[in-house]
Symmetry: C2
């Protein structure tokens, strides 16, 4: 449950069973929670096309869940109980960032869902090769960021007042998201093993949060906004 004393081997270091299990649980519930988030966005979409696109993306979030369940069973874990340990964390995101309209809803997922994808991708770097490759092949491949950026950028360019409101809202959503990332590591300390770098857990988490913020800033710039 603590960071390895020796520097991690660069190519294919082996995280502990606890770290592996916690990652699989996170990956599984991230799929299920992202399904719920994107399906809800789809249901509120003002146009059939957007409803179709988000519904398909939501369905895609479940593409790997059977594989993840299988892996958990092979490691002797109980999939449902494991996923349940992440349920509050991800549900809190939806409860703490309730959008007031369609634009805030789009922005919420643009910020929060994509930050979760970045988090999974970064943690995957600490996994054994086979699982790392399979995770990297699926995480963050929905095209959600491109689709929403193409939808939002022209609207925000034309409506400075909306841009200003969504800028503030985006800051609030990323704040809530990063608070939940901190809580994730408090509740599942073994996950720290999967973060890159060395040193104390607090420093490693801090480094990771910095990376997530940088990715977030790049995403906001695509909308013509500052993070």
């Amino acid at each position: 449950m603590t960071a390895p004393a020796t520097p991690a081997a660069p190519a294919d270091h082996q995280p502990s069973q606890g770290a592996l299990r916690d990652f699989l649980g996170l990956l599984g519930y991230a799929g299920l929670g992202s399904f719920a988030l994107l399906a809800r966005d789809a249901a509120r979409a003002p146009e059939i096309r957007t409803q179709l696109v988000f519904s398909r993306m939501a369905a895609g979030e479940l593409a790997e869940i059977d594989y993840v369940e299988q892996l958990v069973m092979e490691h002797g874990g109980a999939f449902d109980q494991l996923l349940a340990t992440y349920q509050d964390l991800l549900n809190d995101f939806m409860l703490r960032a309730v959008p007031r309209d369609w634009w805030e809803r789009l922005m919420r997922s643009y910020v929060g869902y994509n930050l979760l994808q970045d988090l999974l991708r970064t943690l995957a770097e600490g996994l054994p090769a086979a699982l790392r490759e399979r995770t990297e092949a699926s995480v963050g491949k929905s095209g959600h960021d491109d689709y929403v950026a193409a939808l939002l950028a022209p609207v925000l360019a034309a409506e400075p007042q909306l841009a200003s409101r969504l800028g503030l809202w985006g800051r609030r959503v990323v704040g809530e998201s990063l608070t939940l990332v901190q809580r994730l590591f408090q509740e599942h300390p073994a996950l720290v093993e999967l973060t890159g770098g060395e040193g104390e857990p607090a420093a490693r988490i801090s480094h990771l949060v910095g990376q997530l913020q940088a990715e977030h800033s790049r995403r906001l710039q695509r909308l013509g906004l500052n993070a």
Copy 2:
């Protein structure tokens, strides 16, 4: 847009382009609407396992939507506009039958979603062979009825008061559903071509509604309830 004057050929009669197009639109929006219905059920599920099962079923509803979109394009139709003509109809179902708790929610989909599957399967009998076979291979294969019956039947057997309440609620849901079936044929009269039997549209629709009611009764009996 009227029923054929000659009796339909038994093996592989050709419905009009209008009937075919209307069916494809219904099939497409049934997928999208069922996705929304089951995803919402999943989000309210009290247990992770039920959430997983309903989420997967919801995702499965979109399995054929790319194929349906392709077919509509081949027939020179505009998929989004076509689907939009069914949007109100299926959304009305959710608005007119708002469940008060998880059991009513389960029952709503058990009655309404499965009746829609029966409707699609019955209309598919009037399609050209290739499309009929492809439709029959996908429609009604989610296992939703078996899953919900296994979940509900023991609870209802143990709680007569809940059984009585859900019996009344089921009657209301099937009433709303069959009203919407009538409206479907009013708004898309070409679909009557796909109903079995002969005679005037009103008689054919009436016959179909009878079939749907019989299937519904069988489904309620599996719960130990009377329709």
